[in-house]
Assembly symmetry: C2
């Protein structure tokens, strides 16, 4: 049996466009000799549709689309993810569903059983779990249909069992031969390797082929990496689709040697590619053609610019240097050299005169007060306003350049360097920013990011001779403590017990806790770790829990 | 039997402080002769604790606190809301629980059965529903313990049944005589009247007294209105606590004439009081002492200033007029008169010179382009930067003054007038802002808000002779369409069919849909309607569903 896995890149909510693409791929799959083509979770509406699901006419449009898709299923069967109104009188109004379409009709519908409500997922907000699972008979074979989370509940691999149901175990007991998993599984660094282990383990244990078809593309803060994967009943990978691109992967279950197995990038390369795809899709799906960003000469803006150029082409990127009275010569030249190396448009707007104008009119109100963070923030906000003015005038999207370490401890200015529609590296800790920079140079085979940018001490250059380490612990230490505190949810006592300096830990924890108000108003950031700031981390602001 | 309802105002996460207050109120209730005192839902941690619940040491601290509280329960019993680790090996790790404490110990624990996942609620993110409900025997009486949502599932009153379980029906079948409902029920305009109907109906039908004890106070965007209410078994209100204040309400079930029944404010007054409480608590719980805001002479900033003065005292409020080259004389004088009427500090900082400085340095990059929204936004952003500079220098919180109608259609400048930590009237439609203004003057018995502010055409004054109605339909129309589109989730076709102009409807819908990116970065706004922007409305940004 030849099955096609169609990893599509839907635009969330674009039922018409997504449906057209699905019908097109069904036709391609038929031409390629596939008997069945499977699409990702909620492929008709795009994942995650969020509160669009509360609009009755949206759900109606998606149901009508599934029937149009089914009409095109002649000489082939398709599994298409969609939202179905719950026919039961009790329970939430919708189900996360898969339509098995063949002979020009929807022949069967299957449902997601396990609905995640952790991290970025809110599925119980919309969906009722499906009833008991049953097999679908496709061309004489017992096919099991599962949706994303249904396959993540493996007792042998994951920790605590949060669900009482075991849909895959039930399908296995019913004699499943081919288990399809229709997914929208967001990228996280090193997650694909875990998927391969998790799914391969279940294929082996249940003695069934497992075909995982994953959405691809960026949808707001989530990036889906595609890399749809097929496993034989011994748990071996027999086919793998392209990572970070649309693909129609043909899986021949009988002669697996005919299948494509595309390589998945290395850990740091995968982060780079995820950020590039997330940037490209956010820009494109929001209807922008060009972006701009501030170039400080530092590594954060350099990496952001390089990713933007990789995502959109250098001709679609403008870098703006906005030197202050405290900017060093090397910063200005590093910014300019970077822009030249990338081949992007480069502008310079000095901020000192505007800064003086602010000082003059604020001075009567500040009489007698010493200079402090206020004066630094004014400069950052002038820069933000200049970038936004360019954005407003030309219709270019502003990219924010802050990294995760800064955002964690609030080392950033609200309405200043935090201005922008997309925060490309907001989930990338500072040490990983350096890794990305080295990767970018290595990949290009030349110094795109100037050596000075990589070696000088990080500085905001908002007062004379400032460096980040005047205010913060060294980034090597900071990043480790942040990982323990934020991602691993360790308490300060545990972190100190792990060998970190108590005073530094106290300070970092306090900074993280008191910076929630900044993150509340941060630009949307692309998620690449298992715990990103954004919809997957929901902290109160006016709160008092410390330690 | 005399039962006390202790409507506390917890700080989220402040286990130590909240516990101290609970122990104090247990002692007061005992002195007042109560046999039992009930506290709101999750009273030890404050509602909503959000992702603090993912910190194991936070859960541990809350469990230890319950045992300290129980030790103080001698000569009285208490029902205290807390988070309990789920002892079952399968299911989410926590339960939303109530401890029945007496004789110095936790004698019994009961659980929330119905876990809301709509609007602002995410309870399935953290909690597993409780097992089957059972009664608690208190001093010979069969007492039922329910938690918030458990009492909102009345088939006779609410619409679709989203839960399969019926905990209150089961307690009734088991012979409940007194049903306690421990709640954290957020304020919405006109919701209290609905509660009275919903709870009274169930008291009557189940022939049981119902005692609803509600949290009070502002926690981020949610305001809890207190107004704990007791119903006899005929469904009549026999006691009601103070709205918008902490209170210890004594309920004598045998001689209800001895009970207090505090009045609940009128519809517009309740919105005013909710906003004042929400503002006071956000400021206080974040550790601020003073606020500042821009005063334009318009009704939005006037109402915001009046609410701030009511919340914090006029001595804690600074109004800043920031006239531009387009500001009218009447705007400047209206702002100054308002400040004088309120008795708040008043400053003026002209923005024209700073504006000129921006123009000079942007002009080379804008060569040949006509003036447009860019120049208007620059002015708004200068104002934002000035307010933030004052905030940084003096440690005062900036209040944002935008209303819901503006925020809905994006008639506001990101990083400009949207700057600030708290958006006081972000959930108040423009027409209701006028209602609030009239209410404020009426309540004061004099013209706090100048008549000119109430009668002139709304204008941003960012270009010559501008009014809001150059860009937007009249607010009477706009607010009605927004209510249909946003709160009622009607589609444009339905709205047009209801009698609204098709072109206006199309325009409004398009503006709402394309402004999600602004709301993503908006300040936290106080929720007063059933569908506020904020955590209760989760829309994708890079999406394409229209109509």
């Amino acid at each position: 049996m030849r099955i096609a896995l169609a990893q599509t890149n839907p635009i969330v909510g674009d039922v018409v466009g997504n449906t057209g693409r699905i019908i097109d791929l069904i036709s391609q799959a038929r031409q390629a000799g596939a008997a069945l083509v499977a699409f990702p979770e909620l492929s008709v509406v795009g994942y995650p549709p969020r509160d669009l699901l509360l609009k009755p006419r949206f759900v109606k449009a998606n149901v009508e689309a599934v029937h149009r898709i089914a009409e095109s299923c002649v000489g082939i069967a398709a599994l298409v993810g969609f939202v179905e109104p719950n026919a039961e009188p009790v329970g939430r109004e919708l189900r996360n569903a898969a339509a098995y379409c063949t002979g020009g009709q929807v022949q069967a519908v299957r449902y997601k059983s396990l609905l995640p409500t952790y991290d970025v997922f809110d599925e119980r907000r919309y969906f009722e779990p499906g009833p008991e699972v049953t097999l679908v008979k496709h061309a004489g074979t017992d096919v099991g249909v599962s949706i994303c989370e249904d396959l993540w509940n493996d007792k042998q691999v994951v920790g605590r069992q949060i669900y009482t149901r075991d849909p895959v175990g039930q399908l296995a007991a019913a004699g499943v031969k081919v288990l399809i998993n229709m997914s929208a599984s967001p990228f996280e660094q090193d997650k694909h390797a875990f998927r391969v282990r998790l799914f391969g383990d279940q294929a082996r244990r249940h003695r069934a082929a497992i075909l995982f078809v994953n959405q691809v593309g960026g949808n707001d803060e989530l990036v889906f990496d595609g890399a749809s994967t097929a496993f034989d009943e011994r748990g071996s990978v027999i086919a793998q689709g392209r990572p970070f691109e649309e693909d129609l992967l043909l899986v021949d279950l009988e002669t697996p040697s005919a299948n494509r197995v595309e390589a998945y990038p290395s850990s740091v390369a995968s982060v780079h590619d995820a950020l590039a795809l997330g940037t490209r899709d956010y820009v494109r799906k929001c209807g922008f053609k060009r972006v701009l960003l501030g170039l400080s000469g530092g590594v954060d803006s350099a990496v952001t610019a390089a990713i933007a150029a990789a995502a959109l082409g250098p001709e679609a990127v403008t870098g703006v240097a906005m030197p202050s009275r405290y900017s060093s010569d090397h910063s200005r030249s590093d910014a300019e050299v970077l822009a030249r190396n990338l081949g992007i448009d480069f502008r310079t707007i000095p901020i000192a005169p505007i800064h003086e104008s602010f000082e003059k009119y604020l001075q009567p109100h500040f009489a007698g007060r010493p200079a402090d963070i206020t004066e630094e923030n004014v400069q950052a906000r002038i820069r933000g306003a200049l970038l936004m003015a360019m954005s407003n005038k030309f219709g270019w999207l502003v990219l924010t350049t802050g990294n995760k370490s800064e955002l964690a401890v609030g080392y950033c200015t609200l309405y200043g360097d935090m201005c922008g529609g997309l925060a490309v590296i907001a989930d990338v800790p500072k040490m990983m920013v350096y890794e990305l920079a080295r990767h970018i140079n290595q990949r290009a085979g030349r110094e795109i990011i100037p050596p000075g940018t990589l070696t000088k001490a990080p500085s905001a250059e908002l007062r004379p001779d400032q460096t980040d380490q005047d205010s913060l612990p060294p980034y090597e230490l900071l990043d480790q403590v942040l990982d323990l505190y934020i991602r691993q949810e360790k308490g300060p006592e545990e972190i100190v017990a792990a060998g970190f300096d108590a005073q530094a830990v106290q300070k970092i924890v306090r900074l993280v806790d008191t910076s929630e108000y900044k993150r509340k108003q941060a630009a949307l950031g692309l998620k690449v770790t298992s715990r990103a700031f954004g919809v997957g981390r929901r902290m109160p602001i006016a709160a008092r829990f410390r330690y």
